[in-house]
Symmetry: C2
Subunit: 370 residues, 2 copies
């Protein structure tokens, strides 16, 4: 797995550098903040997630600060800028976004837009010479994911996909248990269901890049990958779309999918946009099992481990998952260190999701990663 | 659904009666015990389940008593007969079993043998004029199930398949919730895994009628049926068999299967013979969900219902599930009343299981019950 750190070798392999001369000189040169200065982040998209989770998270960050806001609604941007101490001149609308290139206070662009816009804004941010932190799913198609990776390489900027649970204590402990001798997990059952309101990008196939699979099923898929430490070799899937629910004219309500890994481990997953909130996984090995309640939520995670018939709740800190991943990326930039969720990691999920939809369409298993 | 009570109309429809005259006269006539006398049960098969659960359960029965034992191991039968007050002359070996016909103290035969013997002993018991209570799965094949139903009809005896959870308070409450407006369940996730020892009928395809699917997967399948109140219209399945585990030369270790019901409800199920004990289901509706821990176990069942974000544990009695189903069948016999799990109910599970294996073999969805 590529670790996402831009090594000299990798930089040499990018097209821009290989073109040499003039092209290489056009590659923006990233100048890290001076020692002691926190990297500045531009938040692109001021929706519910940004307002309710991300901006408050920055207040808890030790290594990151909000430096700019990008929005199509000036009043909202101004009000939030005032509240979070962002200078008004650091507010951009979507057209003016590319001017962020000339703002030395911005080191990272955080793309918090509907999925269909991830690729465009990642590429534009890279071209502006900014590191990119992009929400999951990385993009609706693997083609776009590859363009995003190429653009960041060409611009010599870092790219991280916002998989917050890779840095969350319960999931880290679950991963250790799953892959280690303690459990040696062979079966993962993961479920994420929620009601979505009508008329948002979530139920618009083009904007969301699909229905519940890329938006919430991705949590089940991604968990199965990091818990087993393997990539799926085959997927099976079936979708359900009701005839009488206006929300689901364009996307399915539900997808049930099964992942088969090379070792023989498997995952049985479900995601649904028309049912009440359930967010859980169970992982089972030869001598024990563990279950996570509120597994994919922002808070309230609870892991119960059962071994030799004895159940115990694992006591771990509840952290601000957003602050943790944001600070981690800032640190990776400052220290030029690798991280676990580069573009290639996001691309793998999107590859798997394309296979899940193909399996659901064809009614047949789809082989992968062989 | 046939209710299993032998009505006059049903009796008239049996072959024996339709043959009329001599054939009809050969049909054994069942004489119920005198008022106040508990029906006497013959237990066929003195394995772990009989010794550890069934015989102790009879001590808690109000309407049933152990009247005879059938075993191939005389010493075991004698010791158990002495302990449970069964006269030595009421001990039979498998060859002599048909002589139970001449024992008026026996009203019911409880078949607790390996699955491959269910059909033979049900038919022999029916021919002996005894009512039949048969362990699940009903038989390895639908053909045998049909023969069992026909034999009991011809003999004018009752047949009940031992689905203990149909009479268990938590599952009854779950079924009410699932089918009612409170939850209106559309998705069921059910998992049952356990380690099996090597060298028993469970890992012998012929004796077990399959691997984990008919033995433990049937709990997930049957729960999905009674929770939704529907019969599956399509199944999808995949099995896993490890190459390096001597237990699984003949049967699969694991099967993951998906049931799709006519209403759009679905169930995602797993069963596994090579993993630690997990026994659970989650059911999810538009406005709430419920999960059952220790769902398919003999005791310790726990149901947690979540509605409007509030979780509450449902307080219900833990009953002796075996005593309950045994007494229920005795009562149905005494009062000629219907019950919920006649042969037709067992046949439906076996029909679905055959479809599950066909789906796993072909890699394609298999349509059912259309």
């Amino acid at each position: 797995m590529s670790d996402g750190a831009v090594s000299r070798r990798e930089a040499l392999a990018t097209g821009a550098v290989l073109l040499g001369g003039a092209a290489a000189q056009r590659t923006p040169v990233y100048v890290p903040p001076p020692p002691g200065k926190k990297p500045g982040w531009a938040l692109v998209g001021l929706g519910k997630l940004t307002i309710e989770e991300l901006l408050p998270a920055f207040a808890r960050c030790e290594k990151s600060r909000v430096a700019a806001l990008v929005s199509g609604v000036p009043e909202k941007a101004k009000a939030l800028a005032a509240r979070y101490g962002v200078p008004e001149k650091h507010i951009y609308d979507y057209e003016a976004f590319d001017r962020v290139k000339d703002n030395p206070d911005v080191d990272v662009v955080y793309v918090v837009l509907p999925n269909s816009l991830h690729a465009e804004y990642t590429v534009r941010a890279a071209k502006a010479g900014k590191h990119v932190f992009c929400e999951k799913p990385m993009a609706p198609t693997t083609k776009e994911c590859r363009e995003m990776i190429a653009a960041c390489r060409a611009a010599n900027v870092r790219l991280m996909i916002a998989y917050r649970l890779h840095h969350e204590p319960h999931h880290l402990r679950a991963t250790d248990l799953a892959r280690g001798k303690e459990l040696g997990v062979q079966l993962v059952i993961a479920d994420l269901t929620q009601q979505v309101p009508p008329g948002t990008w979530r139920t618009d196939r083009k904007m969301g890049g699909g229905g519940p699979v890329p938006d919430i099923g991705i949590y089940c898929l991604n968990a199965a990958r990091y818990l087993t430490g393997e990539e799926p070799a085959a997927v099976r899937a079936t979708t359900f779309t009701p005839k009488d629910d206006l929300r689901f004219g364009d996307v399915e309500q539900r997808c049930l999918f099964t992942l088969s890994f090379p070792s023989g481990a498997q995952a049985n997953c479900s995601c649904d946009y028309g049912l009440d909130d359930v967010s859980q996984f169970t992982m089972i090995g030869p001598d024990g099992s563990a279950r996570m309640d509120n597994a994919f939520r922002y808070r309230g995670l609870k892991m119960t481990v059962t071994q030799r018939g004895v159940q115990r709740v694992t006591e771990l800190a509840q952290i601000d998952q957003f602050a943790a991943e944001i600070d981690l990326f800032s640190q990776c930039i400052l220290e030029n260190k690798p991280h676990k969720t580069p573009g290639e990691h996001g691309l793998q999920d999107v590859t798997d999701i394309e296979a899940i939809y193909e399996a659901a369409r064809s009614g047949r298993p789809v082989k992968l990663n062989s």
